[in-house]
């Protein structure tokens, strides 16, 4: 579904972006055609893993079931999930993602350190669709 957005397993799991060789701008989701910095003459875009850890810029949750194209089973009761916008210091970028299951807004504060881990977006008999999740550091 979103090929090339992340790589690796366990502690090696990382989000993948691209970086402009001329101006250093980082893009996530990846930008593969051209650098979007209007002051840049345009360099090669190289795939780079993003920082594993960042700080919470803000957070919220989703108490109602989102509409399609989000995939959920309408037969099951809705389980709210938290969403965290995370600031990555060296990339100077904010990336939104779901929190790991079990982490609620009550567990979060702005400025808290979180790390990226793999998660399951959806699965059926043949396929598991992986995604990224944010998890407060020091939480197993």
């Amino acid at each position: 579904m979103v090929t090339g957005w992340f790589v690796g397993d366990g502690d090696d799991f990382r989000l993948l972006g691209t970086r402009c060789s001329a101006c250093g701008s980082v893009f996530f989701p990846r930008e593969d055609t051209h650098c979007r910095n209007p002051g840049c003459r345009g360099g090669d875009l190289e795939e780079v893993p993003l920082s594993r850890r960042g700080r919470v810029w803000s957070y919220t949750d989703s108490r109602y079931r989102p509409p399609s194209p989000y995939v959920t089973d309408p037969e099951l009761p809705w389980e709210p999930y938290a969403l965290i916008a995370v600031e990555l210091e060296s990339e100077r970028i904010v990336v939104l993602g779901q929190a790991v299951p079990g982490v609620t807004v009550a567990d979060l504060t702005v400025g808290m350190e979180v790390e990226v881990v793999p998660g399951v977006l959806d699965e059926d008999a043949e396929t598991t669709w992986t995604t990224w999740r944010w998890r407060p550091t020091g939480v197993a």
């Binding site: 579904m1 979103v2 402009c20 101006c23 250093g24 701008s25 980082v26 893009f27 996530f28 989701p29 650098c35 979007r36 910095n37 209007p38 002051g39 840049c40 810029w57 803000s58 957070y59 919220t60 949750d61 989703s62 108490r63 109602y64 989102p66 509409p67 399609s68 194209p69 989000y70 995939v71 959920t72 999930y81 938290a82 969403l83 916008a85 060296s90 990339e91 100077r92 970028i93 904010v94 990336v95 939104l96 993602g97 779901q98 807004v105 504060t109 702005v110 400025g111 977006l121 995604t131």
Partner: protein, 396 residues
């Protein structure tokens, strides 16, 4: 600074959940605006429609759809899509035609029959569309973003959910006085606090609903207005339609990440503030000149954000301004005297036009029970998906 255009007429179809088609709402609003202007539809030289993407195929060609419904009469036509900024960009298209001498009188129409519940992207699997991706990958609805902004304000500026609720209390009190509003009931802070959480920390009554509705304007050259007997009409003095500046470092709908600030330093002002500044510069006014403002209160917390972006107060001071009553009726700069989206709900292509209808009535002194005394200068402000931002300055 550019030349002015006259607002000869303003009209609306009342907002609600009427269960009918957007064309009907748009035609009703257009006829009301034409009657208000005293202009025969056959004398209109151009029609500009603000597009809806939820009304089926005709919604994408709104200008011609409304022209056909009103009766083909050979006018120039345009249709404009800019998400929530569609209405303001339709006004801007009409203004540009008038100032360029392409038309003397232009009818601007926006109307929608919105779906119940959350807005969602257009159908089909479209992984190269950021609007589709945010739903598919994250389930990030519009209230998700409003919740993020609200929580950020609480952390950085010390705003509280009680502050947010007071925005709703204020706007609902004004909406109760507006016959075109969908919700015409006062709301208490207790009722806001008792409503269900949608996206923490925002509750159902902090977030605007989806609605049906329509709004229309008749704009003309100043010369036509004088010939037409309108010696001192309300005038549009500026329409800002700016895009953000790279790197945009505030997470904006529908993106799931910001631009990186590694390759270029961010501009000093955020995108929403640049929308207002462009309008002020074009109009040759400043926030101190305003009599009132109509802003997109998609959430209560977002209205507070606009106070700062419009320069009504410094950064982080919006809740204080609200608490002091500065933005309430009787205050120095009342905000959303129409009742705002809190009272109207979203009918996307109509709402930026509806804002200009409200300021027109306010500047004419025709706003009835919600009239702001001696209103002379007004600004409207809104922001649409994909980097569309608009503000309109109107004067009398």
């Amino acid at each position: 600074m550019t030349a002015e255009v006259a607002v000869l007429g303003a009209g609306m179809h009342p907002w609600g959940k009427w269960g009918r088609g957007f064309v009907e709402y748009g035609v009703k609003a257009a006829r009301a605006a034409l009657a208000d202007a005293g202009v025969d539809w056959r004398d209109v030289g151009s029609i500009v429609g603000a597009d809806t993407v939820r009304g089926g195929y005709p919604g994408y060609v709104a200008g011609a759809t409304f022209a056909k419904a009103l009766g083909w009469q050979g006018a120039r036509v345009a249709s404009v899509y800019a998400a929530c900024a569609s209405g303001a960009q339709a006004i801007n298209t009409a203004r540009a035609q008038i100032l360029a001498g392409l038309a003397d009188v232009v009818l601007v129409v926006g109307a929608d029959a919105a779906p119940k519940g959350f807005f969602r992207p257009a159908g089909g699997d479209r992984p190269d569309d950021p609007d589709w991706l945010r739903f598919r990958v994250l389930g990030a609805t519009n209230p998700t973003y409003f919740g993020l902004y609200a929580r950020r304000r609480m952390a950085v500026h010390g705003d509280t959910p009680e502050d947010f609720a007071q925005v709703k209390v204020k706007n609902a009190a004004m909406g109760a006085l507006n016959p075109n509003a969908r919700y015409r009931k006062r709301v208490t802070a207790e009722e806001v606090a008792a409503s269900a959480v949608v996206a923490d920390p925002l509750r159902l009554l902090d977030i605007c609903a989806t609605s049906d509705g329509g709004a229309a304007l008749v704009l003309s050259s100043m010369e036509f207005a004088r010939r037409h007997g309108a010696a001192e009409p309300v005038r549009i003095r500026a329409v800002s339609t700016v895009t953000p500046r790279y790197p945009n470092t505030v997470l904006d709908l529908p993106d799931i990440a910001t631009d990186s600030a590694v390759g270029a330093e961010p501009a000093g002002e955020p995108f929403r503030a640049s929308i207002a500044r462009a309008a002020y510069e074009e109009a040759g006014i400043g926030p101190e000149d305003l009599s009132l403002a109509e802003v997109y209160d998609l959430s209560t917390a977002l209205e507070l954000e606009w106070y700062e972006d419009l320069g009504l107060c410094g950064e982080g001071e919006a809740a204080k301004l609200l608490r002091e009553g500065v933005t309430a009726p009787g205050g120095r700069i009342p905000v959303n005297p129409s009742g705002g989206l809190a009272s109207f709900g979203e009918a996307v292509p109509a709402q930026a036009i509806a804002q200009v209808c409200e300021v027109t009535w306010q500047l004419r002194g025709q706003a009835g029970d919600r009239q702001i005394p001696d209103a002379r200068v007004a600004v409207t402000a809104n922001q649409g998906l994909f980097g569309h931002g608009s503000a309109v300055v109107a004067v009398r």
